[in-house]
């Protein structure tokens, strides 16, 4: 993503020389002293290298998958994690190696391993990639004891809400007098809470087995 931004700044530099120069210096982009003396992106058809484009696209996919998982699990931005990638083809391994430094910086990785042998571990978060599969151990994403506590707390809250709602829905006066759509809404909410409770219980069960 950063090189796209970098190429974009170069692309618009002739039109917007001042702001692009300033941003160039604000970003840790390259050794070049000025955007003015960098080389202009080559978009001539013979330069559009489909192989390069594909490679870069692969790396972007990988980084965004990792970032998504981090995001969904509330992983702190300062925390470095380790990941494993199972590749469909071995030749992509060297590709990963050549990009490893930028991937590690962009996705905040302490380690990036790859292998071609299949893997079916427990207690991991997995994500499909075009060229393989991504595995992140749950222990990398959160502190198990902390997470258990958090889940239990959340579960207790959901259960409490359900009890309240249940007693309300069992009151004949409410069901009869309240407008029909209000009653329906409360019923829906009850169903939502129910499925949430199931999910939380499932997660908690997984967590306890770690």
């Amino acid at each position: 993503m950063m090189f796209i931004l970098k190429e974009l700044l170069k692309l618009v530099h002739p039109f917007l020389p001042f702001v692009t120069e300033e941003l160039w210096h604000q970003l840790p982009l390259s050794n070049e002293k000025s955007i003015m003396i960098t080389s202009f992106p080559k978009f001539h058809s013979k330069w559009v290298n489909s192989k390069a484009k594909k490679e870069v696209q692969m790396m972007i996919d990988l980084v965004s998958q990792i970032r998504n998982i981090r995001g969904e699990n509330n992983v702190s931005p300062s925390k470095f994690i380790s990941v494993t990638i199972v590749l469909k083809e071995k030749k992509n391994g060297s590709l990963l190696n050549s990009y490893s430094e930028s991937i590690k910086s962009l996705a905040k990785l302490s380690q990036m391993r790859w292998q071609t042998e299949s893997l079916d571990p427990k207690n991991v978060i997995r994500a499909a990639l075009k060229f393989g599969e991504l595995f992140i151990p749950m222990t990398e994403l959160f502190d198990v004891e902390e997470e258990k506590k958090r889940l239990q707390k959340e579960l207790a809250k959901v259960e409490e809400d359900m009890t309240h709602l249940d007693s309300r829905l069992s009151t004949p006066a409410f069901v009869e007098r309240a407008p029909k759509d209000v009653v329906q809404k409360e019923k829906d909410r009850f169903q939502e809470l129910k499925s949430k409770k199931e999910k939380l219980a499932e997660s908690l069960k997984k967590m306890s087995s770690l």
Partner: protein, 578 residues
């Protein structure tokens, strides 16, 4: 992903162009990034900046020119070309003299009162002042031109080139002195080229004068919008097929007031439908009459002096009178003699001086001329053979049309300061010609001549003629003509209309990048560039978005991200390709 980012975003202040622009321009200059290298092995990409006149500060039209050229130069520089963008300014002789004279007028003095030496001091002071203002403006525009090669059309090197050109054209008999009817501004006291005369329609009068036949058999009635010129009449002309006058051709008229004998002649150029079908002929003060006079071998009499007063040929009664006072007196005198048949309202087209707006008089004068035809032919050939491309293509037709009908080019100027030719020599004189310099070898011809379409003939065509003649190669590979800047309603910007948008004010308010982007975006949309301030504000917001997006991305990067590793590894080429 979003969660990671938002956790770290703290909203910074928006983009502050003012703080940044000066800093970076200074930095670029110090690093010498604008400088061209005549010894470089890279392919050259050269633009000669159309030198702005030093008559005043730069307006939006100049800004547009600078923006387009800077985009091209920066782009080509990043593509690895050896770029030269050569800046400078034009002394604009008569025009600058006039603005200085206007200043003197405010101080209740004049050029003549000051005398030549003092006046020239004032002109040079003006040049210094406006030269500096223009330079500052160009820098604020972000123009990445090679200031070490800056030139002024009156500097020593360029004046030397002018002398060289004059002598060499004279030796080749392409310059001659001749008696010619020229446009003369009695206020500037100078000959004007056709292009320096604005033809403006005004309401005036048409007077019908009675010219008595010498034999007393009657009168011929002629119509004129300029009765004072009658003192210089040398014939009355009718159409050869006009039955009304066939019997009169060959007879003699006794010209009223001066009692000079003039013939009645016939010529096909006379329009029998105009007035009475008989016209007075003043070869000394009218372009059509001059040609007719030549065809019929008529004498040519000049009745005006250089200040527009009647001269000795007008007769003792009128000599010394200003042309408009003389007109009044002549009409009175003709009325007294019952020789004024009638007076009617009439729309006249009058030539006005482009510099001072005075009414121009066609005058006989000995002037220096360049023979244009032999120079124009090769300048047309190179465009026909596509050695020089004109963009947009439509202008090529206009170019041929003008070149085919080109008249000899009057190059003398009755001025105290300045010379002609200099701007026509710009593509090679600035590179050191007539010396055979390394710059000349590397940077001639230029790659593209980029300018407003309004000076295609004034300047571009003349550079073509001179470049081909002296350098044996056209001065540029292509000519790119851009549109004119107008206000949001499509009207020309002018001080009197109060619709002028000042480029520096706008830059102060929105930043140079916003103005650059707005004008470049508009320049791609046809002939007129209709600029409204809101547009600049809109693009300023757009720049703010780029600013925020990039800073947003930066925050997401964290502090230890370092691109060095990437740039030093082998995969750099793959990424650059992408």
């Amino acid at each position: 992903m979003t969660k990671i980012m938002t956790a770290h975003i703290s909203l910074d202040k928006p983009y502050q162009p003012k703080e940044i622009e000066e800093k970076w321009y200074q930095f670029w200059m110090e690093e010498g990034y604008f400088k061209a290298n005549p010894s470089s092995k890279k392919r050259p990409f050269v633009i000669m900046m159309p030198p702005p006149n030093i008559t005043g500060a730069l307006h939006l039209g100049h800004a547009l020119t600078a923006f387009i050229q800077d985009v091209l130069i920066r782009w080509k520089r990043m593509q690895g070309f050896n770029t030269l963008w050569l800046p400078g300014s034009d002394h604009a002789g008569i025009a600058t003299q006039n603005v200085v004279e206007k200043e003197l007028l405010k101080e209740n003095t004049s050029r003549h009162a000051l005398g030549r030496e003092k006046f020239l001091e004032r002109v040079w002071k003006w040049r210094e002042n406006y030269g500096r203002i223009i330079l500052t403006q160009q820098k604020r525009f972000g123009a990445s031109c090679d200031w070490s090669r800056e030139h002024f059309t009156m500097d020593e090197q360029l004046s030397r080139a002018v002398r060289e050109v004059f002598v060499s054209l004279y030796k080749e008999k392409l310059i001659y002195r001749g008696n010619y009817l020229i446009n003369w501004c009695p206020r500037c006291e100078s000959a004007l080229s056709d292009l320096e005369v604005n033809h403006i329609e005004k309401s005036g009068k048409l007077w019908h004068l009675k010219y008595p036949l010498e034999d007393g058999s009657g009168f011929m009635i002629v119509a004129t919008t300029r009765p004072e010129t009658m003192l210089g009449d040398t014939a009355v002309a009718v159409h050869p097929k006009d039955k009304r006058y066939q019997s009169l051709v060959g007879k003699t008229i006794l010209l009223p007031l001066v009692q000079r004998k003039i013939p009645v002649v016939s010529d096909k150029a006379v329009d029998p439908q105009f007035g009475t079908g008989a016209v007075k002929i003043t070869p000394g003060h009218d372009f059509n009459d001059f040609e007719l006079g030549r065809r019929n071998s008529l004498p040519m009499i000049s009745v005006l002096d250089e200040k527009g007063r009647m001269n000795e040929n007008a007769g003792a009664v009128y000599q010394g009178l200003d042309r408009f006072k003389a007109r009044k007196k002549i009409l009175e005198d003709l009325t007294a003699q019952a020789l004024l048949e009638k007076e009617e309202d009439y729309t006249v087209t009058l030539g006005h001086c482009d510099r001072c707006e005075a009414i121009v008089e066609p005058m006989l004068s000995t002037q220096w001329f360049v023979k244009a035809k032999p120079l124009a032919k090769p300048a047309m050939d190179v465009v026909r053979k596509k050695k020089v491309k004109i963009i947009p293509e439509g202008w090529a037709k206009t170019y041929f049309n003008w070149m085919e009908n080109i008249k000899d080019w009057c190059i003398s100027r009755q001025i105290w300061w300045g010379h002609w030719f200099s701007s026509a020599l710009w593509p090679f004189s600035t590179l050191g010609w007539p010396q055979k310099t390394k710059d000349l070898k590397t940077f001639y011809p230029s790659t593209v001549m980029e300018t407003g379409f309004d000076i295609l003939f004034f300047w571009v065509a003349r550079m073509m003629m001179m470049g081909i003649y002296f350098m044996k190669k056209p001065p540029f590979a292509s000519i790119y003509l851009h549109a004119m800047v107008r206000d949001a309603q499509g009207q020309k910007m002018s001080k009197s209309k109060g619709n002028v948008i000042d480029p520096l004010d706008t830059i102060e308010k929105y930043g140079a990048d916003a103005l650059r982007f707005t004008m470049i975006a508009l320049a791609t949309q046809g002939r007129d560039i209709k600029l409204a301030e809101e547009r600049v504000a809109g693009y300023r917001n757009f720049i703010n978005k780029i600013w925020n997006a990039t800073r947003f991305a930066r925050m997401n990067l964290e502090s230890n991200f370092n691109f060095k590793e990437v740039s030093s590894s082998k995969n750099l080429s793959t990424k650059t390709n992408f």
